[in-house]
């Protein structure tokens, strides 16, 4: 090679090297943009949805922006793919040449995600909308609001209020988590729901008279009832007969798995005085580790397998739904598959479930065995598979012993006795049939529905403060200082009113309970312990309770 040729080669190679550095710079900038959340994959809307994207970019930018950053957009799944509807659907309307519906139901999602939809349909989540015959619903619709619309009793300056919607607390409260009964305005002033439409297996209405009564605007779009929509409650009762809403966790319109994996997603509903799972998690070592190590959670990983893709901390999804190395990396959309106690009712039940995923309440051993389709032990073993990613079998088994002990102590010392007292009062006719019209009913509700759940759920997820001070402490206070005195007051009142037999029967139940060994401290006193406490208080703080 001549010198000149070498010079040309050097020049060419030098240029190539500079280009490689430019490529490196480009990669670095892309990485930074991606980290800052500025980068978006090149997204092209499929032909059928292009017009929707173009128009909605102008009229509702946020929807399109959200969708643009989604996996759906990357994979070419767009507006019409999810919102498409058939001519026979009750909620179909024509929108710029496309037949669409507003509500996207699990039936729609199942077109591409059949396994996930089937798992979800089997879950308690999907049945959360069936709360019509529950105490909670009675509270919201009757006690807090009114099942019958009523007239305002005085004017509201600046607002012309004609009628008070007594269902408002239920609509904006309960149903936003539990799910609404989706309905259209009816021409007779009522509401058309799935119960009127009676959809067939394909989700299409069979009651065409009801379809005909749906109020539509001038372009044919059916008009929703404000009592039912908007709503992304997880157990929503949809017009096509399906139940639930995938967007309860996978928020529209980016349907982010990353967001669904984070505890805040579950915290939309699983918080508050009656089921503070989110706060319990935050207090636990798991939650503390998550907040600290969120950068190591690899939340965008596909798949997202604990022990493989991350092990910094578990989130709600990790334990209840996500894949782990011990279960063949299987995800489930039925969180109940790994829960071994149900702490929802006043007395916790072992989560043996039947073929319909309902808790088996049968007490006869043989009949019970026959009815069980999935045992609580099997569910617990599934959860243990998750635990064993980070903990030894001894650790896991002993934790479960601690949890079981809390639940059983609550059940035996307070829940079953409380239930027996309430039943005795009711059976003796010392309570009205109406709920919440007597103080003791509120007391009992606080005890099991708020404080009792907090104690049990606190123990289930390792939050000591919820188990003790927000839990068992308040359960005990409510039982000894409210429930028992109020029950006694009712029997005394009955005695004074001459209902001696009923009062005696109820008192017998209370007496029998208080005579049990675990309540003897109240009946016979615990003076030795009190003396010891006083001595210790004196020694530690120089303070003591004044002696009698």
């Amino acid at each position: 090679m001549t010198l000149d040729q070498k010079r040309w080669v050097i020049g060419g190679l030098g240029l190539l090297f500079l280009l490689s550095l430019v490529a490196v710079q480009w990669l670095e900038v892309s990485r930074r943009r991606h980290e800052a959340g500025d980068a978006r994959a090149a997204v092209v809307a499929p032909a059928a949805s292009r017009q929707c994207v173009d128009c909605h970019t102008q009229v509702s930018t946020g929807i399109v922006e959200h969708w643009t950053g989604s996996t759906h957009a990357e994979k070419g799944v767009a507006c019409v793919d999810c919102h498409q509807a058939e001519a026979k659907d009750a909620d179909v309307f024509s929108h710029y040449g496309q037949q669409i519906a507003t509500v996207v139901t699990p039936r729609d999602c199942a077109r591409c995600h059949p396994t996930e939809a089937a798992e979800f349909s089997a879950s308690h989540h999907s049945k959360a909308g069936n709360i019509l015959a529950s105490l909670d619903n009675f509270l919201a619709e009757t006690v807090e609001g009114s099942r019958v619309a009523f007239s305002p009793h005085s004017p509201t300056p600046g607002k012309a209020v004609q009628v008070v919607n007594g269902l408002a607390p239920a609509n904006s409260g309960c149903q936003q988590c539990h799910g609404s009964l989706v309905g259209f305005q009816a021409s007779d002033g009522g509401i058309i729901t799935v119960r009127d439409l009676k959809p067939d297996e394909a989700g299409q209405p069979t009651n065409f008279e009801a379809v005909g009564r749906i109020v539509r605007n001038e372009s044919g779009k059916p008009l929703f009832s404000s009592t039912s929509w908007p709503n992304t409650g997880i157990g929503r009762l949809n017009l096509d007969g399906s139940t639930g809403s995938c967007s309860a966790c996978h928020s529209r319109h980016d349907f982010s798995a990353r967001r669904a994996r984070q505890p805040e997603s579950c915290g939309k509903c699983h918080l508050g005085p009656d089921h503070p799972q989110k706060e319990i998690y935050d207090e636990s070592k798991h939650g503390v580790a998550f907040r600290d190590l969120i950068g190591e959670m690899n939340l965008d990983a596909k798949p997202w397998v604990v022990g493989k893709d991350y092990s910094a901390a578990p989130t709600c999804a990790t334990c209840h739904m996500s894949a782990n190395l011990r279960n063949g990396m299987k995800i489930t959309h039925d969180p109940g598959e790994r829960i071994s106690w149900t702490n929802r009712p006043p007395v916790s039940l072992v989560m043996d479930t039947d073929a319909n995923h309902a808790v088996v309440t049968e007490t006869d051993p043989e009949k019970r065995r026959a009815a069980i389709s999935d045992t609580a032990d099997a569910k617990r073993n599934r959860m243990k598979q998750v635990c064993s990613t980070c903990h030894t079998p001894d650790h896991i088994n002993l934790f479960y012993k601690q949890y079981d002990d809390v639940v059983i102590n609550y059940n035996e010392k307070f829940a079953k006795p409380g239930q027996a007292i309430m039943s005795a009062l009711a059976a003796s006719g010392l309570l009205t049939k109406t709920q919440y019209d007597e103080k003791i009913e509120w007391t009992w509700y606080y005890l099991w529905h708020h404080e009792g759940r907090r104690a049990r759920m606190g123990a289930s997820m390792m939050a000591p403060d919820y188990t003790q001070w927000h839990g068992m402490f308040e359960v005990a206070e409510r039982f000894y200082m409210a429930l028992i005195p109020e029950a006694r007051e009712i029997t005394e009142k009955a005695m004074r009113a001459g209902r001696t037999e009923q009062a005696r029967t109820a008192n017998q139940v209370i007496d029998e309970i208080l005579n049990r060994p675990e309540h003897q401290w109240l009946v016979k006193g615990a003076e030795e312990q009190a003396d010891a406490i006083n001595r210790e208080m004196e020694r530690k703080y120089g303070q003591t309770r004044r002696e009698r």
Binding site: L3, K6, I10, L13, F17, S20, V24, R32
Partner: protein, 349 residues
């Protein structure tokens, strides 16, 4: 300009013409062939390693509690960290490959023979230094495999009779991998071995200059073709082309095959499969073929033979009166190394 040269000349009394003459000595004609101009490649890559290594050391924190996180920070967060780590990792791989290729070229052309026996031995020292740099560098990442690789490496050295336990102690700073082991590896990797390598490399290049490059002749060469040529600019250009090609190759590898993070080291969980870096595959396979002490002793013997090969070769030539005998031994040796390396690479355990 002449004022500046005069000013410097008064304070640094070195003749620039003499320096120019020294650095521009005639280069043997065979170095016009690309294959024979690769001797400087390991040195070039070594410079890349020093530059990238210094930049990485700004971020690296050599303690079990911090090492993995600092490497993760370099790889995932620091500006151009992924690129620098990629260059350093691929630079190490190419440097070891270049050293081995250079050594094979020297071996098969008999360039180690009298009077260059000592320079061969210095070259062997450079090879050992390079491999040690590879071993200690791999261990610094504190991934599962690097941790267990270091542990296995230390346990292997323990099997050497008499000095083995001491070697292990010196390597780990204790009987087992402990809190001080990583800082020991770091100082070895970032200070002791590079300084040693620079000193030995200076001796190596010094001897090359003093003894001259072994001149090779090829059949059918004309007298004009056999004529030496100038270092500058002809050979300098050749080296520049090689350097740029290497840099482009490194840049491409660092970009297209970027380094990633393996799972963090966990002393409680032994991985099912422990593999060292590829350049130790041959030694690792050898260890699996023989029991610990036998394997270490035979490996020691092989290194010893390689080290003193110029003298052994001279004895063999005298004994068998056949000058090409070392070529055939070299062919068998090279095939054995490649075979054992491939074997280890292809099997799971």
């Amino acid at each position: 300009m002449s004022d500046v040269r005069g000013w410097i000349g008064e304070r640094v009394p070195v003749s620039l013409d003499a320096v120019a003459a020294m650095s521009n000595e005639p280069v043997p004609h065979h170095l016009k062939r690309w294959w024979f101009a690769l001797g400087g490649t390991p040195a070039y890559l070594f410079v890349v390693q020093i530059v990238t290594g210094v930049l990485l050391a700004f971020y690296y924190q050599p303690a079990p509690q911090t090492a993995y996180e600092s490497v993760r920070y370099i790889t995932e967060e620091a500006a151009f960290g992924w690129y620098l780590r990629g260059l350093h990792k691929w630079g190490a791989t190419l440097m070891i490959a270049a050293v081995v290729l250079h050594q094979m070229r020297v071996f098969f052309t008999g360039a180690y023979r009298k009077p260059r026996e000592l320079n061969w031995m210095i070259g062997m020292t450079l090879l050992v230094c390079t491999l040690m740099l590879g071993f200690t560098g791999y261990s610094l990442v504190f991934e599962q495999l690097s941790y267990w690789g270091a542990t296995v490496g230390a346990n292997i050295s323990d099997t050497v009779p008499v000095v083995g336990p001491l070697m292990k102690q010196l390597l780990l700073g204790g009987d087992t991998y402990n809190d001080r082991t990583l800082s020991r590896f770091f100082i070895l990797h970032g200070a002791v071995l590079p300084v040693l390598l620079i000193l030995v490399l200076m001796m190596h290049i010094g001897l090359v200059r003093l003894l001259g490059v072994t001149e090779l002749e090829f059949e059918g060469e004309t007298a004009a073709e056999k004529k030496p040529f100038n270092f500058f600019p002809e050979h300098f250009y050749t080296e520049l082309i090689i350097g740029l090609t290497l840099m482009i190759l490194l840049s491409a590898l660092a970009t297209l095959v970027p380094v990633e993070m393996g799972p963090r080291a966990n002393p409680q969980i032994t991985p099912e499969v422990i593999k060292p870096e590829w350049f130790f595959y041959v030694a690792f396979r050898w260890l699996k073929l023989f029991s610990g002490t036998t394997a270490m002793l035979t490996q020691g013997l092989i290194v010893f033979v390689m080290f003193f090969w110029p003298f052994i070769d001279a004895w063999l030539v005298r004994r068998f009166k056949y000058a090409e005998i070392s070529v055939w031994i070299g062919v068998v040796g090279a095939l054995a190394i490649m075979g054992l390396t491939m074997w280890e690479a292809l099997v799971a355990h």
